[in-house]
Symmetry: C2
Subunit: 161 residues, 2 copies
Amino acid sequence: SVALVRGVAHDTDVARITVRAVRDRPGLAHGIFQPLADHGINIDVIVQNLSEAGTTDISFTVSKADMAAAVDLVRPIAAEIGAGDVSADASLGKVGIVGVGIQSTPGIAARAFGALAEAGINILGITTSEIRITCLVAEAEVEHAARTLHTAFGLDADSAQ
Amino acid sequence: SVALVRGVAHDTDVARITVRAVRDRPGLAHGIFQPLADHGINIDVIVQNLSEAGTTDISFTVSKADMAAAVDLVRPIAAEIGAGDVSADASLGKVGIVGVGIQSTPGIAARAFGALAEAGINILGITTSEIRITCLVAEAEVEHAARTLHTAFGLDADSAQ
Ligand SMILES: C[C@@H](O)[C@H](N)C(=O)O
Ligand SMILES: C[C@@H](O)[C@H](N)C(=O)O
């Protein structure tokens, strides 16, 4: 079935925190996220890619208001578990396309990435799910990226938030 | 509102392909995914984390049957765009929890990671969306991981596929 792209979602209240070089052994992701949960920090997107030489980076996004508290919690943990640096960036935003069957239709992601490329917008992070393809972009580009995706998918002015 | 974890989804028909060291400039993600779309390769999860020294790894998952074709398409592209190695791994599976409000409730991800940690299951990749937290684990662990998450979230024997 062809994906029905229903809308473009965007959000500028995004900060990404990255813990570099987390050892790829059971329990370390839990070690990072349990204290954040205990302090009621609301985590949005979590990303871990393939490890290399036994470690991998783990990133997560929070609201800009929570960034400092999250970094203060995670820095000592990273040291404790022998991970690398913790970095934080609030100059980000999220933009993405939303719709049923997005993931199972070849070409949707390529069209979204192509549209952003043509607009000269750099993709700073990617995550997907059955109904969404989400890109992190520079905060200053979020509006431009959202408009670009609207045009690329022939959507009207309304957008899913 | 408290997340309602409705079920545990799992899938062993997963292969992950990783393109290392993709330059972090507009257009390169499109360069990787357009040929895959042109050949009708169905991409499931796409993951890009924070770049380091101007490059970042991009991973994506396909069905095991599509892995070889996807690698054959992506290897020459990676060379063309000056990226690093392309690696592929079919010994993987996906397991995750599904439910409304999962992402917006602190502690759900930590509980999932904690349960897998306690069971000694290593998390090989993470992606999240509003309604899902998905972990890549070794294929041999998928059943064990699914049972572990069922127990951790007090679910009955049914599961969302
Ligand atoms: C890196 C981290 O995810 C680790 N593999 C774990 O299971 O906790
Ligand atoms: C790495 C890749 O995503 C690149 N930043 C792009 O926009 O295509």
